[in-house]
């Protein structure tokens, strides 16, 4: 496998005594979409912010296209930031209310001193159209737009510098269902056009299914399962992943499933057991504690290895 | 709760000590000593002996510590302007006019202000609402001495209804009481209106209305109780506002109260009296804020229970 567009290695974040993110490994291959799912408080947003270096990790490494950017200062980071951008959940809060859309979209060009002001304006205009808004929106203010339209502006701002990696932090969860689909489509088509690699943070598995190539499930700061999208939906092993899947609304009532919410104890009691012969690789540590182990088909799950491998 | 009060009290104490040091230093920075002002300058040796008796030749920090030690025993020293008595004695007979007139001012102003504010809240956008807003704005923005001048001009100079200066026979008290009453009147007119409106807009009032309770019972049994509590909490702070106002009221109406002594003590560079008055007022201020804080903390949860909302 060639080097990933974005890679996190054993990344940890502690706030005081609380471990928000605990030794997370994650890789977004080039031109792929990796979904990071989990309930609120699972540490997925913090993980995304660490990838962007907006939150400093307590330990671990962050690699952008093979380069270690963990230790870089904000000044040294600046050139790297052109390659990695972000779209946030709250489209209203993520656009400066005192700036016009044209100014907002052109701001990245100004910060990185690309082109003359006239050229920047022209480019911003072009990007408005690329994300499905008429060029005449350039003189409007964010509060005059709908949530979906604002999210389009946020996407344009994120991509105007030609970023190759996009961290999308729940970009659709504040939107209506129909608008949600439009934004997902927009991201999908831009991803194909520009060869983007996307870290898609979400708790909405229906969106994840149509967009992601791989799914990473986080629970209380740890990665508990990681597999290609099809495998997650077909053969999830971890009880928490299964409960997330059960929570997805179903159209066909005959297929409606019980919504089950698991407590921490229940999850602990139902930690998957894996026999050594199922393992694709020997477990990293020889222990009876749950740990992330590799199964066939690039499927990783936090499990207890029952009979210890000799 | 106890922890909160102790923490607040400690922080107040520290603040107060810092303030006392600043005031002490400021007093000593005032150019000219107490014996520079006389028409007939004192001979140097007598001056030095006087300075030594009063402890004015010691280093500053020692003077401060000795002073504060005295203060703890209610010994504020001897006022330079009347060496026959103590500062405490002077304060003891000067506070009577201030407290009488100020207290009566509150007794007159606060109830009228509360009634006005309540009426304004119950009859929004009627003439009484506008009257209440006008009274509140005038009373809170126009300095007390302007109000006093206005009162004298109208009632003493123009209408000849009352004497222009206060103290002595009760007839002379009328104008100073009105002047003192302006601030509580305005404060409560504004505050009562907003707390009443707040209480009236709570969902529990809608519930009571839906239950078919008469408007009168809703207002007097339920809303008033909810609105009264926050009104109590601003009382201490307002009381101290009266103390500041007394300087001007007493200067205008020639009342021999604390405020008048404060002005004359500044004029006469009477450190001990000035210092004592500043400390007393700052202490009053600190304690009032502390009481207001405690009232607020004590009453707030009950408001929530009573109001049944938020």
């Amino acid at each position: 496998m060639s080097e990933a567009a974005l890679e996190l290695r054993q990344v940890t974040k502690r706030f005081g005594d609380v471990v928000a993110v605990d030794r997370v490994d994650l890789a977004v291959p080039r031109n792929r979409v990796v979904a990071l799912v989990g309930e609120s408080g699972s540490g997925k947003t913090t993980t995304g912010l660490m990838a962007l270096r907006l939150v400093t990790p307590s330990a671990g490494q962050i690699l952008l296209e093979g380069e270690d950017i963990t230790a870089l200062g904000q000044k040294q980071l600046k050139p790297h930031r052109r390659r990695m951008q972000v779209v946030f959940q709250d489209s209203y809060a993520s656009l400066d209310p005192m700036m016009t859309l044209g100014e907002i979209i052109a701001e990245p060009l100004g910060i990185h001193q690309v082109g003359t002001p006239a050229e920047r304006r022209e480019q911003a205009q072009g990007w408005l159209e690329k994300v499905g808004l008429d060029g005449s929106y350039a003189n409007r203010y964010p509060h005059e737009l709908s949530g979906g339209q604002r999210q389009r502006v946020a996407v344009a701002r994120a991509l105007i510098l030609g970023a190759s990696v996009l961290v999308a932090d729940e970009p659709t969860s504040a939107l209506d269902v129909s608008v949600k689909a439009q934004i997902v489509n927009l991201l999908q088509s831009l991803q194909e056009q520009m060869g983007l690699s996307i870290l898609f943070i979400s708790h909405d598995l229906s969106v994840v299914r149509s967009l992601a190539d791989e799914v990473v499930v986080m629970l209380r700061g740890r990665v508990v399962e990681r597999a290609p999208t099809d495998r997650i939906f077909a053969a999830a092993r971890h009880p928490y992943t299964q409960s997330l899947l059960d929570a997805v609304p179903v159209v066909d009532p005959s297929r409606r499933r019980r919504r089950t919410f698991l407590s921490a104890e229940e999850i602990a009691a139902r930690t998957p057991r894996v026999r050594p012969h199922e393992l694709e690789a020997p477990p990293p540590v020889d222990t009876a504690e749950p740990q992330l182990v590799a199964l066939a088909g690039s499927h990783f799950v936090e499990a207890i290895v029952t009979e210890r491998a000799a | 709760m106890t922890g909160f009060i102790v923490r607040r009290a400690l922080s107040m104490l520290v603040t107060f000590i810092v303030v006392s040091i600043v005031i002490f230093l400021m007093m000593h920075a005032i150019p000219g000593g107490p014996f520079d002002g006389y028409e007939m300058p004192l001979p140097d040796n007598i001056k030095q002996r006087l300075m030594a008796t009063l402890g004015l030749d010691k280093p500053l920090w020692e003077q401060y510590l000795r002073y504060m030690w005295g203060v703890l025993h209610f010994d504020f020293g001897v006022p330079y302007q009347s060496p026959g008595e103590t500062v405490m004695g002077l304060v003891a007979h000067a506070w009577l006019p201030s407290l009488t007139l100020g207290g009566l001012g509150i007794l007159v102003g606060a109830p009228i202000g509360i009634l006005l504010g309540m009426a304004a809240a119950l009859r929004r956008n009627s003439w009484i609402d506008y009257l209440a807003s006008a009274v509140a704005t005038l009373g809170l923005t126009i300095p007390v001495f302007i109000i006093s001048t206005g009162l004298i001009l109208v009632f003493a100079v123009w209408l000849h209804w009352t004497p222009a200066s206060g103290w002595g026979e009760p007839k002379r008290w009328i104008l100073p009481i009105l002047a003192y009453g302006a601030v509580p009147l305005a404060t409560y007119a504004r505050y009562a209106r907003s707390t009443m409106l707040d209480a009236l807009n709570k969902p529990f009032v809608t519930v009571l209305r839906a239950k078919g309770l008469s408007e009168g019972r809703i207002v007097f049994q339920h809303v008033l109780r909810n609105a009264a509590i926050p009104m109590v909490t601003i009382f201490p702070v307002m009381f101290v506002g009266i103390a500041t106002g007394s300087i001007f009221v007493e200067a205008m109406f020639r009342v021999p109260g604390l405020g008048a002594y404060f002005v004359s003590s500044i004029d006469k560079r009477d450190y001990p009296l000035e210092m004592a008055l500043m400390l007393l007022i700052s202490a009053l201020y600190s304690v009032s804020y502390l009481i207001a804080d405690i009232c607020y903390a004590l009453l707030n949860p009950r408001i929530r229970v009573d109001g049944g909302s938020r």
Binding site: F88, T100 | I23, T141, I281
Partner: protein, 300 residues
């Protein structure tokens, strides 16, 4: 599973109404507030009178040109009468506006110059700096400003500049608190994070995002500082430790007028009215601006 529609939506077009900035709506709210609008107009008239004082009046403020007519009541020749030292009282009042407004305005500028950067930094940096700033402000809240100002004025022996600095000393904290609260609430907003993710420098973030978004509290803080300073000046001058004669100050004129008011009412009425009207207009304007710029702050 919900399936996701694949048809590309057509370009969304705005309706043809002109674009409206957030300030436009603030202006609309302000104009609809008749009281504040009226106060603003009154204040503009007073400011114009102060600026063009030499054009409105014929004599200088300190010229004792009418000694023989001293203490005359208002007449066609002397609209506000003549004062005890034979000066045209209308002239004195108009020039008094210069002093009063000048001090109010200068003190507000100083309050802003000090309060804005400190408030912005305290709000943006948080932590120790914020803690220290808040403790200092707490100190100021324990001392009654008027009493402390009285002491300081005695210490400095009054004078215009001393009054301005004293007013700013007690005015900066209001601006500081307003700006701090605003910056603090915006610091965690996603558009600030988006700018950081773009590699914007702290300077760029403060200048391009935080300060433009703090325009409302800055304007409100500035305008409300003006009447406070004017009040302070008038109070100190009234007690005789503010602006020193012969510089015309309304507070000082009231002080003098008090001694004459039983026989020469004009000596007290005009400066009192001038001061009351100006302070009231400035306060109403400030309140109106606050309500217009930040509807959530209404009613304190």
């Amino acid at each position: 599973m919900t399936e996701i529609a694949t048809a590309a939506p057509p370009l969304a077009k705005p309706d043809s109404v002109r674009q409206r900035s957030p300030l436009y709506f603030a202006w609309r709210r302000f104009v609809s507030n008749k009281g504040a609008l009226g106060a603003g107009i009154v204040l503009i008239v007073i400011v114009l009178m102060a600026i063009f004082a030499p054009l409105i009046t014929t004599t200088g403020p300190n010229e004792q040109a009418f000694l023989t007519n001293a203490l005359n009541f208002p007449s066609g020749a002397h609209w506000f009468g003549v004062d005890d030292l034979g000066r045209d009282f209308f002239t004195r009042i108009v020039y008094g506006a210069r002093v009063s407004l000048g001090i109010g305005f200068s003190a507000a500028v100083f309050s802003l110059v000090v309060g804005l950067p400190i408030g912005a930094l305290a709000g943006y940096l948080g932590g120790k700096f914020d803690w220290v700033v808040m403790r200092v402000i707490e100190l100021f809240s324990v001392v009654p400003p008027l009493l402390a100002a009285l002491l300081l004025a005695t210490l400095t022996r009054g004078g215009v500049w001393a009054i301005i600095l004293i007013a700013a000393l007690f005015g900066w904290k209001d601006v500081c608190l307003l700006v701090r609260a605003q910056v603090k609430s915006f610091r965690e907003k996603e558009f600030i994070m988006a700018a950081q993710a773009l590699g914007a420098s702290p300077w760029h973030i403060v200048w391009r995002h935080l300060i433009p978004n703090s325009v409302s509290p800055i304007i409100v803080g500035f305008v409300l500082a003006i009447p406070l300073a004017m009040m302070l000046e008038a109070s100190l001058s009234f007690l005789g430790i503010g602006v020193q004669p012969p510089t015309p100050s309304w507070g000082q004129m009231i002080n003098v007028g008090m001694n004459f008011m039983f026989f020469y009412w004009h000596m007290a009425v005009f400066p009192t009215a001038a001061l009351a009207i100006t302070i009231l207009a400035a306060s109403l304007l400030g309140d109106g601006l606050r309500d217009a710029l930040d509807p959530t702050l209404k009613g304190r």
